[in-house]
Structure formats: C-alpha cells, structure tokens
Amino acid sequence: MTLPRPVPEATNSLSAGGFRELNRREVMGEAFEGILAAARTGAEWAWSALYRELSPAVLGYLRAQRAREPEDLTGEVFYQVVRSLGQFEGDEAAFRSWVFVIAHRKLIDDARYRKRRPVEPSDTPRLRDGVRAGNVEQEALDRLSTAALDSLLAQLTDDQRSVLLLRILADLSTEETARALGKRKGAVEALQHRALARLRKTLSSA
C-alpha cells in the first residue's frame, strides 16, 4: 500500500498578535482520497490531518454565529463525522460541504438549547476561545475588532449571516452552501446579495 503524500503545511503568517492566520487552499488535493481511506481504517494521522484542515473553519463559523460553547460544538461536529464517515462518498469539496452540514445542524440544536436555557454571553469571547494570551494592546484592538464585527454581523438575519459566513469562512460554493442550509441555490444567491447590501449600507453610514 502506497502511503499518501504528507499533507503540506498550510501557509501560516503570524500576525502581530501571535495568532496564526490561515489561508485556505486545497492542501489535501489529490491526497484526499488516500487520507479518507486511511481515516476509514482508523488511522490516527489521517484523522489528525482532517481535523487540522477543517477545525479552524468549523470553529470560526460557530464563533461568528455566537454559539454558546464553540469549542465543545467543534468537538461534537468531528465526533459526528467519525460516527457517520461510513455513510459519506465524494471528493474533498463534498467532504467539506458535508462537515459544514453537520456543523450547521449542531448550531441549530445549540440555539434551541439556548432558547430553553438562556445564558448571558461572556464579555470577553476571546478568552472563551482559549486563545493564548499575547500582546495586550493588540488584544485590545482585536477585541474591539471582534466586537465591531459581531455587531456588524448581528444586523443580518440568521439566514443571511449563515450564507455569508459559509461562503467566506468555509469557502463553500453557492451549491454547497444551499446543500448545507437545505435551501435552493437561487435562495442562497438572494440571501447573499441582501447580506452584502446590508453590510455596505452599514459601513457607508458609519
């Protein structure tokens, strides 16, 4: 059996705040089939590769959607991926879309749970993420930036925000986004257009 090529390191550029910035690209590419096959057999390295490739986007999506415990939900998403891997068939793009379908449904369950048991969100979401402490000044700027972005995204409807974040953070196509949300492609395009218009108007008025 030919071992799959090792997964190349993603292009990481450290920001001044000490946080890694990931530029998404198809790091798995042709190796995806091999990695997926190894993951089906329970290979730890294959699961590590899949986790590291998708966990930032999954976690970011859940954070941007103001999930109660985004790290815990991230773990639950991959746990579900492990249990349901036998039912998946497709390429890397389909796999990515499938993972975010699971993430979106976990988010909905979490939102319903929060409605029954409302919990006041922490004033410092950065600390809940477990991010390593760095430059205090940069952290303050980032906190503001985070707050501003949160406030900006809060002006969108739930569907508009979901479409925008899946397109931006998960790098899903319109079709993949429609499949993840259970909507038609035309509906997703309409939601996307309205979301950008709303943001443009808000930034222009600011």
Partner: protein, 297 residues
C-alpha cells in the same frame, strides 16, 4: 463575487474594496485554529470514538430499554406479571366454579322439592317455607296426610256431615286424597256404581281403629283438631248408628264431629277394598245414590 468573498476586489471600486476588506477582516478574526490543549483533547476523543465504532459497539449506551422486547418495556417483570395473571385467572375461575356449583345445587334441590322427592322432613320444611310466598309444592309423606285431613276439617262447614276422619287402609283411600268434596264425590260414585255399603265402611273403620289402638296409636290422625263435644276415643262397642249419613263419609250418628262409632265385629260383610273406588257416575248433589243404606231415600 467569489473574489470579493475571498478578500480580493477589482481596483478602483471603493465599495467593492470596502467589502473585500470586510471579508478579509472576518476571515482574519474568526479563522483561528483551536488552542493546543483543545486540539489534543479533541483528537483523543476522536480516536476513542474511532476505536469504539470499529469494534461495533455504540459510543453511548441507551438510557432506557426501548430497544428491548415489548414486554420488558411495558413495565412489570415477566414473573410478576405472570403471577398476577395466574392469580387473577385462578380467582375468577374459583369464583365461577363455586357459583356454578351453587346454582346446580339450588336447581337440583328446587326440582326435587317441586317433585316431592326430598326426604320427609326436608320436603315438609321447604314446602312450608315456600308456601308463605305463595308457592305450592307437595309436602312430605307424613305431613301430607295431616295437611289433607286438616284441610278437610277446615273446609267442611260446621255441622255438615262429611267433616270426618279420613281412614286409609282396606277402605282403599288413595294416598293424598284430601278434602271433604273429594271424599263426598267418591262416596257418591261408589253408591251409584253399587259400591260399598255404609255398614261395610263402618266395619272397616272399626277394624282400622282397633289396629291402631293395638299399635298404641290414637284413632285420630295427627294434627286433626278435636271436634267440639267429642270425647276420648270410644272403646269398641255396638255402633250407635248403622251406616254413614247421606252425602257424607264415615260419621258418628250422634252428631257432627263425633268420632267413629264402631259397629262391632262381624257386622256385615266387608266390602273389598277396591269397591270404595267407584267409577260410577256421581249422583245428584254429590251424595250417595238413592237406595244406599244410610243415604237418602
């Protein structure tokens, strides 16, 4: 749009550049790898889940028995439910058997009582009990004779001949004959058909009385009230009157309610027992036919 969402925008377009900048900011802000500790924890959980799944075991056991057989899910254990069911069935079955047996016993007893086939004491007791509620069933053999005679004494008008004592034995009285009317009818029939003469009847009555006295019994059947003016049983002697009065049975000529007067032994021939039972026509008025000794001229 794709480039815009990816963070790049055509140059010269301020709005587009602004939107592209926002996209980059969102990516930069939210696309963060989990902390090392969290990543290690997640990977450990994934491996645990992978190994459990490979072995075919569920990662989490069901909290209830919803996957079990329906009988177990229903609640009570089988043993307790079976015992409960057996107890219920047994109780109901026992009750049914007892009720059926009681019903059969009552039906059988009632039927026997209606046919007069129960023992004497039981038959009499039941007859007397049900008589109070208007149900007539035969009395016991002993009581029947007493009752018949009592009825005859009660129904016959005072002073009228015929209210006498029923005598059985050779005279051929039927078992169960009751009432003065029946007695009178039979007398009339017998007289019409050439039945026994009055003297013959008296002889027979005297003989029966002697037999009873010899056996230590009273002439009078049990339960028969003592007529007015009647004295103790008379010793056998010549009869004061020959033959029964008209339309009556054996009777004391000295007056109504008198006891049997024995005519003495050997007076007249003894009619056959069966001659008392006559199939002849009943005479007018139910009395003995004309010409019968002791009857109307």
């Amino acid at each position: 749009m794709a480039r815009l969402l990816s963070g790049s925008a055509p140059s010269g377009d301020a709005d587009t550049e602004q939107m592209a900048a926002l996209t980059r900011a969102i990516k930069q802000e939210y696309l963060r790898a989990p902390a090392a500790e969290i990543e290690a924890s997640h990977l450990e959980g994934l491996m645990r889940a992978v190994h459990l799944t490979d072995k075919g075991d569920l990662a989490a056991r069901p909290a209830s028995k919803v996957y079990g057989p329906g009988s177990q899910v229903s609640g009570l254990p089988k043993t307790r439910r079976r015992r409960f069911m057996l107890e219920t069935v047994f109780t109901s079955l026992t009750a049914k058997v007892a009720a059926a047996g009681l019903a059969v016993a009552l039906a059988g007893t009632g039927g026997l009582a209606a046919a007069g086939q129960l023992p004497d004491s039981m038959q009499t007791g039941i007859a007397q009990a049900v008589e109070k509620i208007g149900i007539q069933i035969p009395l016991g053999p002993t009581a029947a004779g007493v009752a018949d005679t009592a009825d005859a004494a009660d129904t016959a008008p005072e002073g009228e001949p015929g209210a006498g004592i029923r005598v059985d034995g050779d005279l051929g009285f039927d078992e169960g004959v009751s009432g003065a009317d029946e007695f009178g009818r039979r007398v009339a029939e017998d007289a019409t058909g050439g039945g026994v003469e009055g003297q013959q009847l008296s002889e027979q009555a005297r003989r029966v009385a002697e037999e009873r006295r010899a056996a230590g019994q009273d002439n009078r059947p049990e339960g028969v009230p003592v007529p007015e003016g009647a004295g103790p049983p008379q010793d056998p002697g010549p009869p004061a009157q020959v033959g029964p009065p008209a339309g009556a049975g054996i009777q004391n000529s000295q007056g109504p309610g008198a006891g049997i007067q024995d005519e003495g032994p050997g007076a007249g021939t003894q009619p056959p027992a069966s001659s008392w039972i006559s199939d002849g026509p009943i005479g007018p008025g139910g009395g003995p036919p004309a010409g019968t000794p002791g009857g109307r001229p």
